[in-house]
């Protein structure tokens, strides 16, 4: 077996550099730490240069760091985002070798065996890798060695940034490194230090039988220095398990005779949609944006795209979204190939729709929204949603139907007018102070005599979002002599020290 060439890429500052890239306006002189919730409060994950200088360090509890450096700014760490980002970098690194793998929380491994000459040799390749990541804003420390363990150790504990070790130089290069470089946990490292075996070389000098006897119980690699030692020296084999490429959901259909008549595109599309949805179902994904391509014999490609309000996997729905627009396609000399590609998809669990029947009766609200948007344009569609607030005009919110609002457990017995004015209109009212019901009022130049009144319903301002001068409202349900019913309110009460005498407003109609 020829010796393998493994590249270890270590991003010592991944989290902070990623944060910095997302927030380009950060003042670097300001000590900053990224922290996440630990069992006993916040724990620092990463710090910037300024924070490091003022004494903060990863692993420290937030309160301790704050005690040392009171000006430390705290942002929350995004470990999931870091991991995703690292996976993306791993895919990106496949330009140098198809065999790339994510290594822990902050490193990558590449198997570049036999491939370095494409990039001008190993030294040139490492330089290229470092520069490439540097341009993305990530500091990287690199090493090439014949084993994963060797490359890992030299990449993290080696003296220089780019280390290249030939097969015959492995033991010499590793010998002076501390035992921690063997990818063992802290307990194992502490034990080795207590035994006086502080370097890889010292450990390698101990007879294997003696070591085997002492670490035989430790099956887990990170607790077993002997396994790790053998992996680093290449006596046991360890391979880079490459990242799986991302699945692309795309279905293609060729036809023998070019299609010139657009009306028959629909069954074709239905066929494609069914196949795409099957593929998505297997991957537990749902469509958010889908692209239909029709390839014309003369080299022109017609494209249609639709987006959906929620993940979908229903072929009929997809077809309906495209259907009206298919007619506008210019077939020219005819299409001979069709493709349907999922451009944006989200996780969507498989569920059973029901026994016997495949689809529920009626139409799902998200599907309706999709159809209306396709027909009327996304910007023209909005939908009222109940919003938990006592303030009448806040109790409904207009949105695209996807917002999440505070829990709705509306007090149903509160009767609200059918029509609520966007802007309450001033009315003049005769009433008994302080909070008697109105007797007579004038609205839009018309005088109304009050026949019946109910109230007041007192609604106080939402103190957490309004100024302290905002006044409470006393709402009355009014019926005039003609039986018309109004909803009017008095803004404020006498002597509430929030302005002059209270004003009256018409806020809605019950007819």
């Amino acid at each position: 077996m020829t010796a393998r060439r493994i590249v270890s890429i270590w991003f010592p500052d991944l989290a902070m550099e990623r944060w910095r890239r997302a927030h380009p306006d950060t003042d670097d002189a300001q000590p900053l730490a990224l922290a996440s919730e630990g069992p006993h409060g916040l724990v620092i994950d990463a710090v910037n240069e300024a924070a490091r200088d003022s004494g903060a360090k990863p692993g420290q509890r937030m309160t301790d760091a704050r005690a040392i450096c009171p000006t430390l700014v705290l942002e929350s760490a995004d470990r999931a985002g870091d991991a995703q980002s690292l996976a993306r970098l791993g895919h990106w690194a496949r330009r140098w070798s198809p065999w790339t793998a994510v290594d822990g929380a902050d490193g990558l491994l590449l198997d570049s065996t036999g491939g370095a000459h494409c990039f001008g040799g190993e030294a040139a390749m490492l330089e290229q890798i470092e520069t490439a990541f540097g341009m993305l804003g990530f500091t990287a420390q690199l090493a090439i060695a014949p084993t994963i363990g060797g490359a890992w150790a030299l990449g993290r504990f080696g003296a220089s940034d780019r280390i290249i070790v030939e097969p015959e130089g492995v033991s010499k290069a590793l010998a002076p490194l501390p035992v921690e470089s063997l990818r063992i946990d802290s307990d194992a490292a502490l034990l080795l230090r207590r035994l006086g075996l502080k370097t890889v070389g010292a450990l390698a000098d101990i007879p294997i039988t003696a070591l085997a006897r002492r670490f035989r119980k430790h099956r887990h690699e990170v607790a077993n220095p002997l396994t790790r030692l053998q992996q680093a020296y290449g006596t046991t084999r360890e391979v880079v398990a490459p990242l799986a490429p991302q699945t692309i959901y795309r279905v293609v259909q060729r036809v023998a005779e070019p299609v010139q008549y657009v009306a028959i595109l629909e069954p074709l599309l239905a066929d494609l949609a069914e196949r795409l949805c099957d593929a998505l179902e297997a991957g537990q994904r749902g469509l958010r944006r889908v692209c239909f391509e029709a390839f014309r014999v003369d080299g022109y490609v017609a494209q249609l795209e639709v987006e959906t309000a929620a993940p979908v996997r229903t072929p009929n729905h997809i077809v309906r979204l495209f259907a009206e627009r298919l007619e506008k396609l210019d077939a020219g000399f005819g299409f001979d190939t069709f493709a349907l590609t999922a451009q944006w998809h989200e996780p969507m669990e498989a569920w059973q729709k029901g026994i016997g029947e495949d689809e529920e009766k009626g139409i799902l609200l998200p599907h309706l929204l999709d159809r209306l948007r396709v027909r009327l344009g996304a910007e023209n569609i909005s939908m009222p949603t109940p919003y938990a607030s006592h303030i009448p005009e806040r109790s409904l919110a207009w949105g695209d139907g996807q917002e999440r609002f505070p829990s709705i457990e509306a007090p149903s017995r509160r009767e609200r007018p059918i029509r609520l004015f966007d802007r309450p209109e001033p009315v003049t009212v005769i009433y008994a102070t302080p909070d008697g019901p109105p007797r007579r009022f004038r609205w839009r130049y018309q005088l109304h005599d009050v026949a019946k009144a109910e109230g007041p319903e007192r609604i106080a301002p939402e103190w957490w979002r309004e100024k302290s001068t905002v006044r409470l409202r006393d709402y009355y349900k009014i019926e005039d002599r003609k039986g018309r019913r109004f909803w009017i309110y008095r803004n404020g009460v006498v002597d509430d020290r929030r302005g002059g005498p209270p004003q009256w407003f018409m806020h809605g109609l019950f007819f």
């Binding site: 040392i68 009171p70 220089s160 002076p176 470089s181 006086g196 002492r214």
Partner: protein
Amino acid sequence: MPDPPLTPAKHTLKRLSEDFGTNPPTPFVELGVTSCFSFLRGASDACDLVEAAFCQKHHALGIADRNTMAGVVRLYSEAKTAKLRPVIGCRVVLVEGHEFLAYPRDRAAYGRLCTLLSQGKMRTIDGQWQDKGECHLTLDMLAEHSEDVQLIALPDEDIDAFTETLPILAARLPTMQHVAVSYLYRGDDRARIMRLDALAKGQGLSILATNDVHYHTPERRPLQDVMTCIREKTTIADAGYLLHANAERHLKSPEEMQRLFADWPHAIAATREVADRCTFSLKELQYEYPEETVPGDQTSQDYLEQVAWEGAAWRYPDGIPDKVRRIVERELVLIRRLDIARYFLTIKDIVDYARNCDPPILCQGRGSAANSAVCYCLGITAVDPAQVDLLFERFISEERREPPDIDVDFEHERREEVIQHIYDKYGRHRAGLCATVIHYRPRSAIREVGKVMGLSEDVTSALARTIWGSWGSSVDESKTEEAGLNRDDPYLKRVVTLTEQLIGMPRHLSQHVGGFILTQGPLIETVPIGNGAMADRSFIEWDKDDIDELGIMKVDVLALGMLTCIRKAFDLIDAHYGQRYTLASVPREVPEVYDMLCKADSIGVFQIESRAQMSMLPRLKPRTFYDLVIEVAIVRPGPIQGDMVHPYLRRRSGKEKVEFPSPHPDHGPPDELKNILNRTMGVPIFQEQAMKIAIDAARFTPEEANELRKAMATFRSRGTIERLESKMVSRMIERGYDLDFAHNCFNQIKGFGDYGFPESHAASFADLAYVSSWIKHFHPDVFCAALLNSQPMGFYAPAQIVRDAREHGVEVRGPDVNYSDWDNLLEPVAPGRSAVRLGFRQIGGIAKGDAEEIVRHRDRLYLDVEDVRTRTRLPVATVEKLAAADAFRSLKLDRRRALWDARALKQAPDLPLFTFSEERDEGEETPVMLPAMPVCEHVVADYQTMRLSLKAHPFEFLRDSYEERAFARAEQLRDCKFGVPVRLAGIVLIRQRPGTAKGVCFITIEDETGIANLVVWPDVMARYRKVIMSARMIEVHGRVQKDDDVIHVVADRLEDASSQLLALSDDPLQSQVDRADHVVNPVLSGLHRHPRNVRVIPASRDFH
């Protein structure tokens, strides 16, 4: 260092009772009152409610908290001050969803209500152990206990449903005569009230008006909303309909209520009827002492006299001294007059139990009543009245008729036995622990409010950080700015205001550390009892202030680590030196003991071992027991703030004449203060002295003195304090006293406020301080072992205790599999001299059971590591831990070798066949040469495994380099002149910033020759904050300061030298590297260092 109070002081009315007139009776009484003891529901405390009620001309006020009586005493005492009539009740919430206001008419009905609540709190409906804070009641339970309890049904939101349930309720609950109605501006109020009125009439009931009060003023609505959010774990923006639409649920005046209910006058009249029918008052909860402490048909007083004289004869086998006889006689007369004999007998019973345990549990009483000759004769205390002047009469106030106060401390490891004995003897229905009300402290308040208001964690913790320590009472403005927050931001202002309102609100009830209430009749008829979070604990709903307010007796059964230590020391002295001591038989007033204390040689001694106490000892130079009493009391905020420390020291050292301020001859005898201040050289030091001055010199009536005493304990009532101050000062001046003296006396009273220390406590503590000093001086070996065996306790870590013992010539030996026990032992060295053998308890991760196994199988010496494993059958991991702690030295194995051997052990199954097979199945091993372990690494490993090292001080390895840099040793400070510049370096032991020291920070550092005390002024502190807060080892440039024998180094410059400590274990690693080889030079510098930062020095005790 003063201990912060466990809870913030109680919020009481700012005004005195004389400020309140009596309101004439009104037709309306508010009965639907939810106070803050309906946790996270009510937003006003009793004090606010009463004040608002008084101003609105109410003459009576109800209280009805949700399934609890926890707040009734507060309302009762505040209402008493404001001359309102408290109407005591509660809001009963059933698991079926029905709610009632429940107002008992008399004592018996009150007892039934308490029994009902207790049942709901102690057992779930299906009879299981109820969770803490829960209360499950059913309609059946309520019906069973509702006789003479006036019930007022609270209708559901849904009146249709209520229409159906009301007839059922009315049939089951004959005492339910009313339906509550509210006018809360909901729009449909009139219709609703009409409907309910008709509904009630249909059942022969009446409606009753209430405003469903949740706060005392509409301005409290925001706080109530925030509390709702905290309760429902949501934010204010998301709370939506969980919040109320308006702020109407506040206390309204009788006129306003009459106006709202003008159409339903019978609803108003009903409130008055219900209130007037409640004749029950909390005053009726007269305390009945348990009877079983008196045998036969003797009266308790006769029996007490009998046992007291028997005890006296036992205490003084050679005859009772006349002095003692006179004191005992006088005290017995007083006890008879106050009728508190059974109280003493109850305590004697508990103490007797502890004493008759096998082995006996050491205990000692303290508190005002404990300072009596009778207590000495009963064996409750150990302060001999023949030698020490006792103060009994001074503390028992005949006027107040309050129950006496005795706390009994027990060995902390065995207190649980005493508690269980009390439960066994008196039964859970007659014995209960007091509650402690847990209040929102500034930090918790800010966190909760911030979360509700949607502030980010960052802003919230920045706000939280603006409070130093956890007992600040308000948000400090300057600190808010320091944290980079904009004070003018209106949203933030609102958060701060809300936080300030939330601070001090009760959050939940917890059990008191050991305050027991014992009764003759069932306790559950006096107060509801609930379960604690700990298994087998139940506690009543009132805290100790409430108990005091009602004049109910309690016995504090407390745990004290030093008693454990002293008992273990007595046992060791008995075993090794053949003398049996008790607390009372330790030789008193031995000059050598005081000599030792005068040198501030007091590490480990009870109470006087702290830095502040140690720097006071050489100044005070205690020579008698009473000096120790003063020593204990003087290093406290009271005397410090009252500026009494220096005058006392000056007078004691003869630099100032002892004088007694006297009134004008027309106003009284010139020596009226001499009686009070004689024993403290004319300087008031104890709490009672200040009080006595108020009574004698300012002619305070007992009632005024009582108000003063309460005000002292309250930080919120600044207004009251100022009123009392002018009253006291002006009266003293009137009577011819010096203005400055009057002011100083009062300042001291203010200082006592939060951390008062009465003479009686000081005397009991001084007694233990003396006994522990005596042991330390005559048996330093015993003291060391006993102290280590009682850990965790006291001020110092094991490393300092061991170091101190070795400095006193005690040989200390490391733990060893062939010699050690679980506990630290004494090994005889020469007659009268022993060495301390450290026990396995000092090794981290070794369980007591493991240690016992090792001892049990040690019939012959262990031969090697394998032998330990096969004979003890301990897990290999445990053997490894022993090896890592270097416990195989007697087998000629050092740590490294033992660890190497231990790693090779096989975790064999415990089969007899294998266990006894001596043959080793893997054959002999090829010997491996491991590098020898340098001493400095051993020291580091010792600290890692035992937190101390006997081999060397880590500093010894650094001394050479410090010598070169002209750094002094700690021991050299003694020879330095005042003001000499000096450089020092040492490991940080303690950093403190006491509240009384105006921002000065004190740091204790240690090198191999001893400890040194650093003083860091605030400006230096600000500059070197990072170093002070983070360094484990510090280099100081400063100046020497001396005052008597007290030496300080005032720091000018500080540097972090922690990296030197790490070098101890990393050094050899670097030296192995060939420095010429730069290609692979594993220099472990740089910022991205991976290896674990091993912390070798135990974390020091920090402030913040």
